[in-house]
């Protein structure tokens, strides 16, 4: 059974690229484009892993991460933060809020896939 991955980003072109990339790797992919939709889809779709952008309308990635980590039913969910804000304090904040990894944009597609596979192994 393929792992389910939820992509959360408000930048359409990035979403297109991620969706294509991960589908080609054989994952079951769904997309959300803002914080609220991300939470909704997380409950509905029950993803194994979430690629989470930080700067989004309605709820920021940090807020989404915090809420999910407070939810016991989501304990197994792996979260990779994906953001163009690469400052040290933001990396630390993301990891402190419970993200499993923090990847800075622009990223290498190979590395991203490798990271996802490691986390899901």
């Amino acid at each position: 059974m393929a792992h389910r991955i939820l992509i959360v980003d408000d930048e359409p072109n990035i979403v297109i690229s991620l969706e294509y990339l991960l589908k080609k790797e054989g994952f079951d992919v769904t997309v959300a484009t803002d914080g609220d939709a991300a939470l909704h889809k997380a409950t509905e779709f029950r993803p194994h892993l979430m690629l989470l952008d930080v700067m989004m309308p309605k709820k920021s990635g940090f807020e989404v991460c915090e809420l999910l980590r407070a939810d016991a039913t989501m304990a197994d969910l792996k979260i990779i933060m994906l953001t163009a804000k690469g400052r040290e304090t933001e990396v630390t904040k993301g990891l402190a809020l419970g993200a499993n990894a923090y990847i800075t944009k622009p990223f290498s597609t190979k590395d991203l896939v490798a990271q996802i596979k490691t986390l899901l192994a």
């Binding site: 408000d10 930048e11 359409p12 072109n13 990035i14 297109i16 690229s17 991620l18 294509y20 990339l21 080609k24 484009t33 803002d34 700067m55 309308p57 309605k58 163009a84 804000k85 690469g86 400052r87 800075t104 944009k105 622009p106 990223f107 290498s108 597609t109 190979k110």
Partner: protein
């Protein structure tokens, strides 16, 4: 063999030897090979502290009260061992200021006051005379006891002998002659007497030797060591009782008082000041003296108790005064040679004290009392007299004779009423009055002349009333009614129970009242006013040590022609010329005539004279040459000038300090602003980075995927490449806009200002966007444009604003049903352009935010689900442009009812709108 003539001959021989030593030391000093430049000699000469009071009196006091004689020596021991720094500072200050006596020291410290110098001199003379009387009494008594050998007969009472048969009179006369020979042979510029110091050091050795000889004889000749004497004494209850000092609070108080008194006496007695400070050759000698002098005191006291006890044991029957035990014990055992040696030892103690004391006092009397008075009597014609050095010597000689005469008089009047020790203590209490002004003057800058005068006068009056007058009364010279009943019968004024204070011995009682008044007035009056310029200068010199040497305040100048004759009058022509020549050589000149008439020369002359006639008189004399009056208008102006300079300087300082405070506050504000700007710059860069990375992310992701998988199908490939191209365009636009904004913000943008037809520019902008409007099927309505509106602005920039506003509107209106209307009208002052759309509108909270960099509509509201295209820099750039031409750009909108962007431009442009 001990007939009178033998004793007299031995005495004269001894004095002759002393004189020879002094003469030899003086010659050596003239040749520049000083005999006394040696710490041991300095320490021995300090032994002048031990007079006949010690030599005979210690044993007397020990016989009466056991170890009661000790505090007189503990005081100086403590002072030298623990407070040598005070003495060190006194020596240093005295050398720098060429101090010649304790009166000069005090006068100089408080602004070179002649009045103060005079007062100190009077106190010193009056206070020390009983002490001199004591020496006369001791020498004359010991002489008469010795001449009656082999019998031991106590001398008759002082006043009972007819004056011409009184040996004390002859002792006084001989001592006066001897002192005059010693001390006033020449006037020295530094007022030091090397010969005298050498003789005093020898005398210290002689008296110590004599006392130790008696001690050894008594302890090991008459008894089997110290233990034997003490054992025998303990066997006699009458004697044993004296070994235990009285165990009452008053007795402890007395001990404290005596230690305190002797501590000050060893510093402030005129002879101690003379030897320790004025005659000091090298201040480093003091380092050795701080232990050698206490050692001397220890040695000369070591046999006091054994001799006293042996005397008490031997003369059980009484009738022999314990003060004479040192002499009578050898006599009673037929030790003629030892007895003569003891007599010579006593003579040493007496002559040492009398010589130094009277020389010191005569210098004070001459410099601080007589000369100032004589110089104020113009009818004496002194100012015109060519050579006054002879007169100075004459005055000193007479002063010596008169002081010894007064000593003899006191001896006749009061000599029998008191034991040796009590007479000495009266003098100690008198010189203790100098302690506040001297020690205060060394460590406190606030003391003033008035305070010193008041303190000294009050202390002196109380001393005289509570101690000196009662000593006269007890000897019957004054009616003694006032002791018992108080002055004018007022009980509170009883001199030895003043204001009802009882329970203290008379010395402690006197000290409590006199020092209390002294200190109180000294401090109380001093703090009434700030020290004036002259006092403050001297205070700096004394308290700050020699490092703070200020100039002496002469602003006027005088030449060699005036100053050399002046110095010659007091020093003698030869000595003065020699000194001036030395000064000239120091300044690299060949002869006295080349010396310029400047303040340095005046200071030199004042210094030279200070050594001879004291600081206060020297100042007055130099003033008489420099200007006609001692306190001329020049000097007053000079003092005022200095004072006002000091005040101006302090005002300037205050102002500087205020300016500094203000500058600090400004700097802090500026720093705060910089910090804020820095934070804003950080945020901006972080945002720019984010905006640049977002398109890069898509570009890299698609490029990598296409690169990885060359077999991607064509449709996908075309789509991906399209995205890459559009993201690249986005990236370029972003970079251009950032650079554009930076240019605008930093004021480096170039502007081409011309008269512009607004209607024309709007049409041109609309034309450039026709295709885009058509693609989205949005209506562009330009019907509301008024024609003929002209403003002064940059045409391209205005186009940029219009294109931006139009494409913004296009972005937010719905496809097909979208509608954008442009209007333009004008008032007398300005042109107004509006762009309205039927898009989702902007929430009130966001209407200002959209003009911030990188803020786009949609932020926190849900009017937009899709992220709009654009960089978020268009509106900020447009606003910069409009504001550059003194216009305004804003938005009016209510959510759901579309948005309306407006800007105005003034018809009469400001400076920026001028054609450049």
């Amino acid at each position: 063999m001990l007939q009178g003539w033998v004793v007299v001959l031995a005495s004269f021989l001894y004095l002759g030897v002393l004189f020879a030593i002094a003469w030899y030391a003086d010659r050596r000093a003239d040749l520049g090979r000083s005999l006394i430049a040696n710490p041991a000699v300095y320490a021995l000469s300090l032994g002048v502290y031990c007079t006949t009071w010690t030599f005979y009196g210690s044993v007397g006091r020990a016989a009466a009260s056991g170890i009661g004689f000790l505090p007189i020596y503990l005081g100086p021991t403590l002072l030298f061992a623990l407070a040598g720094f005070i003495l060190f500072k006194m020596i240093r200050v005295a050398k720098v200021n060429r101090i010649t006596s304790i009166a000069d020291f005090v006068a100089s410290r408080y602004g070179k006051s002649q009045l103060l110098g005079g007062l100190v001199t009077v106190i010193a003379v009056v206070g020390v005379i009983p002490y001199i009387a004591l020496q006369l009494k001791a020498v004359s008594n010991s002489f008469s006891i010795l001449s009656s050998y082999p019998e031991i007969i106590m001398p008759a009472a002082a006043g009972a002998v007819p004056i011409l048969q009184d040996s004390a009179l002859y002792v006084a006369m001989i001592l006066a002659a001897f002192t005059i020979l010693f001390g006033t042979r020449h006037l020295d510029a530094t007022e030091r007497h090397e010969g005298m110091v050498a003789a005093i050091a020898v005398e210290s050795l002689v008296k110590l030797g004599a006392f130790l000889a008696v001690g050894v004889f008594v302890v090991w000749g008459l008894h089997d060591g110290v233990a034997d004497i003490f054992a025998r004494a303990a066997a006699m209850p009458d004697v044993a009782r004296r070994l235990a000092s009285a165990d009452t609070p008053a007795a402890y108080g007395t001990w404290g008082t005596l230690i305190f008194l002797s501590m000050f006496a060893s510093l402030l007695l005129p002879r101690q000041f003379q030897i320790a400070v004025v005659e000091n050759v090298d201040e480093s000698h003091l380092r050795r003296a701080v232990w050698m002098f206490p050692l001397y005191l220890f040695l000369i006291n070591i046999f006091v108790l054994p001799v006293a006890l042996a005397g008490l044991l031997h003369f059980k029957a009484g009738g022999v005064d314990a003060d004479t035990f040192v002499l009578t014990l050898p006599m009673a055992h037929q030790q003629e040679a030892l007895a003569l040696f003891v007599f010579i030892g006593g003579l040493s103690a007496a002559t040492g004290m009398v010589i130094v004391e009277t020389i010191a006092l005569s210098t004070m009397v001459c410099n601080d009392l007589v000369m100032p008075l004589l110089l104020r009597m113009p009818w004496l014609g002194l100012a015109a007299k060519a050579d006054l050095s002879g007169l100075l010597l004459e005055i000193r000689r007479w002063a010596i004779a008169i002081i010894l005469g007064l000593g003899y008089l006191y001896f006749r009047v009061a000599g029998e009423a008191y034991a040796l020790v009590s007479i000495g203590l009266i003098s100690f209490a008198a010189v203790a009055q100098f302690a506040p002004v001297v020690i205060g003057g060394l460590f406190w800058k606030g003391g003033t002349r008035d305070g010193a005068l008041a303190g000294l006068a009050a202390g002196f009056v109380l001393w005289a009333y509570t101690l000196l007058l009662p000593s006269f009364a007890k000897s019957g010279w004054l009616p003694d009614g006032f002791i018992a009943h108080g002055l004018f019968g007022v009980e509170l004024l009883r001199p030895q129970h003043l204001f009802g204070l009882t329970g203290l011995d008379e010395i402690t009682h006197c000290l409590v009242w006199s020092l209390l008044a002294n200190l109180g007035f000294y401090i109380g009056i001093s703090i009434q006013r700030v020290p004036n310029v002259r006092e403050a200068r001297q205070a700096t010199l004394f308290v700050g040590g020699n490092e703070a040497a200020g100039h002496s305040g002469w602003s006027a100048s005088a030449g060699v022609a005036d100053l050399l004759p002046l110095a010659s009058r007091f020093l003698g022509r030869e000595r003065a010329e020699e000194a001036f020549l030395r000064h000239a050589r120091q300044r690299g000149l060949n002869s006295v005539k080349e010396l310029p008439a400047d303040t340095r020369l005046v200071n030199f002359a004042e210094n030279l004279l200070t050594g001879a006639i004291g600081s206060a008189s020297a100042r007055a004399m130099v003033a008489s040459v420099v200007s006609e009056e001692p306190l001329g208008i020049d000097e007053v102006m000079n003092i005022l000038d200095e004072a006002s300079q000091v005040r101006a300087y302090s005002r300037e300082l205050e102002q500087k300090s205020r300016e500094l405070t203000r500058a600090t506050a400004e700097l802090r504000d500026a720093n705060e602003r910089l910090r804020e700007l820095d934070r804003m710059k950080d945020d901006f860069i972080s945002t720019v980075t984010h905006e640049l990375r977002t398109p890069l992310t898509s570009i890299r992701a698609f490029s990598e995927m296409l690169h990885e998988d060359p077999k991607t199908d064509l449709e996908q490939r075309t789509k991906f490449l399209g995205i890459i191209v559009s993201e690249t365009v986005r990236l370029s636009r972003l970079i251009n806009q950032i650079l554009d904004l930076a240019k605008l913000e930093s004021g480096r943008a170039e502007w081409t200002v011309t008269a512009i037809d607004v209607d024309e520019v709007i049409h041109e902008a609309a034309d450039s966007l026709t295709v885009l409007f058509a693609e989205k099927r949005v209506t562009l309505d330009l019907a509301g444009l008024q024609t003929g509106l002209t403003v002064m602005a940059d045409r391209d920039r205005l186009m940029q604003v219009m294109v931006n506003l139009l494409s913004n509107a296009l972005k937010f209106v719905p496809t097909d049903s979208g509608r954008v209307r442009v209007g333009a009208d004008g008032t007398a002052n300005e042109v107004r352009v509006s762009v309205s759309d039927n898009g989702p509108g902007i929430a009130a909270a966001d209407q200002e935010l959209i003009f911030d960099k990188f803020r786009q509509g949609s932020g926190g509201t849900d009017v937009l689900t899709d992220k709009p295209q654009g960089t978020g820099l268009g509106l900020p750039i447009s606003r910069q442009i409009i504001e550059y031409f003194n216009g305004r750009l804003w938005v009016e909108s209510s959510p759901g009812a579309g948005a309306r962007f407006l800007f105005t431009l003034p018809r009469q442009a400001g400076d920026n709108g001028k054609n450049s």
